[in-house]
Amino acid sequence: MATIGPGIDTAAPRLRLLVLQPTPFCNINCSYCYLSNRRSVAVMSHATLDLACRRVFESPLLDLQLEVAWHGGEPLTVPLTWYEEAIALMAERCPVAVQLKHRFQTNGLLLNERWVRFFAQTGATIGLSIDGPADLHDASRRTRSGRGTYDGAMRAVRLLQDNDLAFHVITVLTERALDDPDRLFDFYVQNGIKDVGFNIEEIEGAHSHSSLASADVETRFRRFIKRLFELVWSRPGLLVVREFESTVGLLLSNKPAKDEQNLPFAIVSVSHDGQLSTFSPELLGARHPRFETFALGQVVVHGLSDVECAPSFRAINNEIRRGVEACEHSCRYFRWCGGGAPANKLFETGRFDATETMHCRLTRQVVLDEVIAGIESRIGRRERPYDLCGLEAP
């Protein structure tokens, strides 16, 4: 394979995440959604999936573990029987040495006992999209007729809990959530939600404005993270927050961070109609004046090595590399960040070779600052953890 960037071992297996879009259709209409074609009811054919498997499984870049993220649209709008056949097909095509792990990210509205049994049988992990208490959740996550989806999402929580099926929650933080971290923390704990990741309302794709882009938001976001870290630290093990786990892991790691979104073919994305892409999954389906599309190949005709030779891939990869190098030379957080997410650079600044973005300031810099300061402030203290916040002992 050709050279793809300085410091990258081109022969090293690194393909660990396959993002598959069974359909672009979503049964709800979140205000911050970045997908432009979420009304389309098209569904990936099993023939397309078969070709996608061939392209991925034949690649020398494939690692020994491959996460398969089923991500739409809303993946559960595709019939369960489709997935039963799809997962059997993937198992049949997968090399013996490679372990597949299936992941579903869903709004939960269509979850039922049959889906739960399927997840349990396949060992798939489930992420539910819930933005917190009803007023926060329903402010953004509504049906096309304008109804809130909170009750349906919480019904999914109960169904998974009643069946002892572990799950995580992804919460999208909008401006209105920033002033009440205690209420969000209490919401998770009181509802038995043990594992949460926070995404910010990003400027991406069809969503060209974020409520977090205003002037005072960074200060409020910093206060939110600081307080949430206090709450999580004070009751260890009660709530796992993805951002804190990742950050502490990065701080304690002997090696500098690498952002898989910057590494070509660490992530491969395939759309419902067989278009292939890499880098940030949000790029697939997006359009841009300079690059037109980020569909870099088609599974019917292109393998990953063909994609790597395409002029469009080279142009994008070169610009992303320049962006990462610029981050390395200019940013004191680089050691623990790895160069930022290409999609956020592009959609915020118009270029991949940009450096700082709202996304990186909030999700990398502020989080690193507050986790480091939070740990420092507690070193040497001997109080019981839950004394720090005036909470009752668990």
Binding site: V240, S246, N254, I375
Partner: protein, 81 residues
């Protein structure tokens, strides 16, 4: 000997979940560190890397497994829906 495995086994039972944060809070709960000066006092406003190095040093003194047993790549990204 208190090992990372022991701690994680404890953390995975009951209503408590596996957490690196929880493991690190355990480091600070240890009496062995009580007589040592705080990191904030040692490094003041030093550069970020020095502050992180001080944290790593402190953790590794108590539980080296937390420092060396980490995967080389840690994912931050996860896609919303």
């Amino acid at each position: 000997m208190s090992t990372e495995l022991d701690r994680r086994r404890h953390l995975s039972t009951g209503t408590v979940v596996v957490s690196l944060i929880a493991a690190v809070t355990g480091v600070w709960a240890g009496d062995a560190l009580a007589s040592q000066p705080t990191i904030a006092a040692r490094v003041g406003d030093q550069e970020l890397s020095a502050r992180v190095a001080a944290i790593v040093e402190r953790v590794s003194l108590v539980d080296p497994a937390l420092v060396r047993d980490l995967p080389p790549q840690i994912k931050i990204a996860q896609w919303r829906n």
